[in-house]
């Protein structure tokens, strides 16, 4: 199976990236994590991206706080699908990261997920790779079923709770 690259600038986006890794682990998708900085190690991210397909990667996930320069740099240097995770930082409640991830100019898309959406980034990567991987496809279907089952359990729990609070 193709690998997923998770790249981050290494600030408060760290914990988000670990959620992404944990989710990929669940699906058994091979991945690599890298701290790379489009700002501080210019050229390096470009180099990585240009060779990513050859090096066996199928999807690149990039997490950034403030502005998503890293996702841009990567998307400009590869035709692999690039998923961007905007990460909330000190000010503006994540809006700066969100807008700079999603408002990419014509010709160079980045697939943005929700602010701090590390888990969804992994699932989206899985969905992309599952297009040519039956087993991954099956795992995604199972995950959907588990999610549904989880909701039903929560339903029972909430009903119990509310009953206990008000009906006694």
């Amino acid at each position: 199976m193709k690998k997923v690259a998770i790249v981050t600038e290494g600030g408060s986006d760290f914990s988000t990236v670990k959620e992404t890794a944990a989710e990929l682990e669940k699906f058994g998708i091979p991945y690599e994590v890298h701290v790379m900085s489009a700002h501080r190690t210019p050229g390096l991210a470009a180099e990585f991206s240009k060779n990513a397909a050859e090096n066996g990667f199928g999807v690149i996930i990039s997490a950034s706080e403030k502005i998503a320069f890293l996702a841009c740099e990567i998307a400009s240097n590869t035709i692999l699908p690039v998923i961007g995770i905007p990460v909330k930082s000190l000010a503006l409640d994540g809006l700066d990261a969100l807008l700079s991830t999603v408002q990419m100019p014509r010709g160079v898309p980045v697939a943005s997920v929700a602010i701090n959406g590390g888990v969804n980034a992994a699932i989206l990567a899985a969905q992309i790779l599952a297009l040519s991987d039956k087993e991954l496809d099956k795992k995604l279907c199972e995950m959907k079923e588990e999610m549904a089952a989880g909701v039903i359990k929560k339903d029972e729990k909430l009903q119990e709770e509310v009953k206990n609070i008000f009906k006694n």
Copy 2:
């Protein structure tokens, strides 16, 4: 090759959807366009999504103005990658469509592109399909080269223009 589905609610998101279709035409990617409304034809979009993989689709692109209910409905009923295009409408300058496309809850990702980003949605779909299609991969590389060449032409033109304005 797998097909791309372009679905829309059929409001001011129409022209955006045509840009998407035009771009897919350039890549020679088979596609279908559908007006579907999660609000007005409930069940229909769900039905379509559940059967999308079987019916030969590989990616679903969904465009909505105001709130991206259609993208949600589709993403909830398929494990295919779903790309959302937020479309600017009367008020709030597209912010409502953007937030409701991108801020999907954990477990059900939508890959958001820029506001009115019909072209990028098509390119992202192409990038996803190219993972298992050498020829599409080649076309994407060519597109990158053409974009670069286009920039260089624009550069010459601007320099000429500025010279004419100020140097005489």
Copy 3:
């Protein structure tokens, strides 16, 4: 009397929903609480909504954080009045939930109350049901009087407090 359904996706919207239940208890309005997820249990919320009127419900209250897909799903599948409670989550200070609750497309309204407005959702439901229930109407009038009395008590308290701080 018709029942009120309180549905929630079961995240940080839990405590909001309990406020709603507590308020309905005060009015003696029968209700049910349900965790349902338009994203994770697709079809279930639609099914619930289609049968809601027959099952004795008169109003459905839906609470969601991030994006109000659940309210949308419900409103698309019933002609009962649907009240949406946007719930503040990690980022964007509730703006995402608010816009996706209120900016519904033409034809499928959701009645939005304030961010985390669990109590007001219950009162609005009571006001709707009171149109054909004299006793509930009376209770709402009494509530208005109690609120007014509460304000007058607060007034006395504040005046006392300020006097103590500055006049000694």
Copy 4:
């Protein structure tokens, strides 16, 4: 049947209010329109609201641009359900009207619909009145069916259009 009151401050919210009236006409719901200004005719809106139930009204719809003082004034003086329509004006793209309509304090709800959502306000009113009116209930169901049929027609039209553009 109970009547619907449509009240407006009489600025750029005029055309919105006519959409509301037109929609109520379709449902055969009796209504009155009033220009009233909480700011300029203080007391008048309060008076109207206090007597609204007695005067045969079941729902009050209030449209305001900038800030929704009129909806507030009405909601404070009646226990009838009040629906607020935020109307976009010169600046801030409707955000001021939206926030001041929806962010009502605890105890006095206003049911907010989308910015310039005159049609949805009427439908919401119809849904509320239909709780005790079988015929109105039936009309709402028919409207849902017509909306669905309309979407299916749009679907055919779009497919035709796209075919004509690209397939020739």
Copy 5:
């Protein structure tokens, strides 16, 4: 001298109002504090406002969180200058209170100060009353001088601090 009325809805705007009172105390301006709720005690605020001039008030200061209905109600019922203090609450970081305080419709101004600007509301009231009160005018000039002196002290302190941190 004319009195200042400080009115509040009695929520989290309490501490702001105490800052206002404390500042008026410094200037020796007579004032009254009142908890009044345009929503919960409709009519009361209107009544108070209509009689405010006769009762010896010259300026009314109104503090509200979420939406500034109280300031609106007051401004609609008096021609005294009304100063509004938007108070930050749970969500939206004070933006809802700010917009609903400042975006008053033509004909009924409210003088908005900064979010949680209780002190500035008092100073503005003092500036208004000082137009016909020589002594208050003098106190305002002294306050300006003290502020300037305070800045100069802070300057010395910062320079000392920075010297200590880096120069040793």
Copy 6:
């Protein structure tokens, strides 16, 4: 009577300022208009403000687009009440002007009116001056009555209009 100074930076805030002047004319309040730029003629606005009280001014109204530096400069150099009019310009829909007018730091208030609120700025100035001018007080009361009468006329007109559209 004390005069009102209307100052502006002379950009797109021009028409707003003329509305202010027109409104002051109605009240018979003496005024002067000045183009002054805190940015481009530094010192001049400060000078003007320091002498404003002595020169017979009672209130200063300042209109700015983008950022309200002029209002700041003035408020820093006088203890006269300063009214700020935020003016909408090319981008950000007036939000930049609004925030920089209203978010003044502690100690130096500016009384902000609505975006482009030239008329309300004049009325607020009139309300301030009316505290010591019986005749102006009377004119403001008459204006309130005329506004109310205007609303009642609009009411009749709207009712006529709606009757003509739908009842025939």
Copy 7:
């Protein structure tokens, strides 16, 4: 004198860039304009930036709409001061461009000017170069004087205008 580089992605930022060039012409500052795209010609902007100092540039001005990737790319590859001009595009009123220009991560500053602030970018560049160029310093001082004179002319004109409107 060192040269200024004006770089742009070649979209709707074109006219902004011409304003910058025109302003530099006034100061007699040598400059080059280049269309470069960090997204479409990756590597090229990096290359240009690395060699900019050697090639005689002292300041780089970069204009972008949507997201300021070009400014980022440049700032990452040079230690010359980089000035960013956010350019307003179709949606979000310039907020996306502004945030992505100004919210640069620690270590790699971009000096942001106002949205569409092409003229100010040129003046800022002139101010930077004037630190080691007496003649440019003098020109900047003259520009300040001319601006002041311009304001005084506008003042006379406005006073004349207002007199003509109202005093006759």
Copy 8:
């Protein structure tokens, strides 16, 4: 070498300013810190700015919360490059400070860095001064290299961490 002036209004912008000082220390750039308030010590900041060039300053850095009046005042009274640091305060998450720093009117630029961007302000000042200082230029290049090295260390650390979490 020319000095850098760091000026602040002395509120919550204090710690930001110390970061700036610390960064300038690293570069060995001479600087002075000053608490100055455009609002509270009017004239003083103007005076300081007019004489700044003569007094050996090359760049002025100004930090403000809420609204950036100080940066404006300075920029209006000097032709030295002025760098503005918007500082986040109680409400609005820094948006008020950001917009009032960056949205300067034509003719008087302020170079805005990120919200709370004290370090970047210092680096930008260093970049400006390095245009005529070889040694500073060298230090900036070294800083770039150290940043890159830091990223590479972080990369190793993250890879180790992730390996430890998931691979055991």
